[in-house]
Symmetry: C2
Subunit: 211 residues, 2 copies
Amino acid sequence: MHIAILTFDGFNELDSLIALGVLNRIKKPGWRVSLAAPTDTVRSMNGVTLHATASLAEARVADVVLVGSGIRTRDIAADPAILSALPLDPARQLIGAQCSGTLLLAKLGILGAVPACTDLTTKPWVQEAGVQVLDQPFYAAGNVATAGGCLSSPYLAAWVIARTEGRDAAAAALHYVAPVGEKEAYVAQALRNIDPYLPAPASRTMAAIAH
Amino acid sequence: MHIAILTFDGFNELDSLIALGVLNRIKKPGWRVSLAAPTDTVRSMNGVTLHATASLAEARVADVVLVGSGIRTRDIAADPAILSALPLDPARQLIGAQCSGTLLLAKLGILGAVPACTDLTTKPWVQEAGVQVLDQPFYAAGNVATAGGCLSSPYLAAWVIARTEGRDAAAAALHYVAPVGEKEAYVAQALRNIDPYLPAPASRTMAAIAH
């Protein structure tokens, strides 16, 4: 399972690295979380330079692609070289976007008529691209999810874990990163945000019927 | 105002970079948030390599020092070279620690008899160092604060902003990073955690008297 987090120059540290941290709570062979960038190093909106661990070519064939956010996303979403390098496909990939990453998904034509979440700054640009923006932290339709506001990153990461490793694994990852003394409340709040977008597990359906 | 976030090999991405992102919401000349490390680059617990932007020598004279967390903190907190490089002083610096960073503060003798917050994994080691560990996300006594659980990082960053730029600036920074649709609730929750440890402003005291 390769999860590529697209990270461009000007990236928002929270959006790429919270997802990376939460996703790395899954400890199993073959579980790989990468920072995918067009260049060997990328520099954040606040001057943090980090090394990419995957190329865009690797990201396009990843099992899961999360589009990070940043201050240069409008330029990136208008760059034909970037867009043509990312023929993402929700039929074979889970695809998620955080904040301004939603604009890139819109420009890639992946959102279509599906509404989406984004941050308040990016909102008018996503609307201009023809996408309805929701006043909520997380939304998913099928294999495509979007999140708005940096600290909704754990919800997006939890959705990926729930879809690939199950809801219990997602809850455990969230519990680990949650503030001490607020863990149960935090996990419950996060699950309230992603549960409506998870396939109903057979066991829970059966339990509901039994009751 | 130089805020140095101590970041060592094996660091937890969330703990160093959430603080960095929130603190950089303050946009004013002379406000500098650095990643301070003993080496030019450091590699995280999940394989992310980033470039330090300050040395430990710069951190020791910073106005604010936040000790990040990581999987190697026990070794670091037992390393005489690191400990002697960090003669931190709460009389002239605001000092904070996130998760296992609390162990380093304990070993540096900065906590003394003051209780502290840390993550559940580090808790027994901090207790072994003679410090009482609290079941809450944030605690401060004077100029020394500690936080437990990765996602309490915004509380620690907000405390720094509140102490240096005021509570309104802290609230605004938290509002920006909070999930869309949950912003007011998030800010209120965060402020509930840090308010007990902020000096009572004269204006609020006067307002309370007037009522």
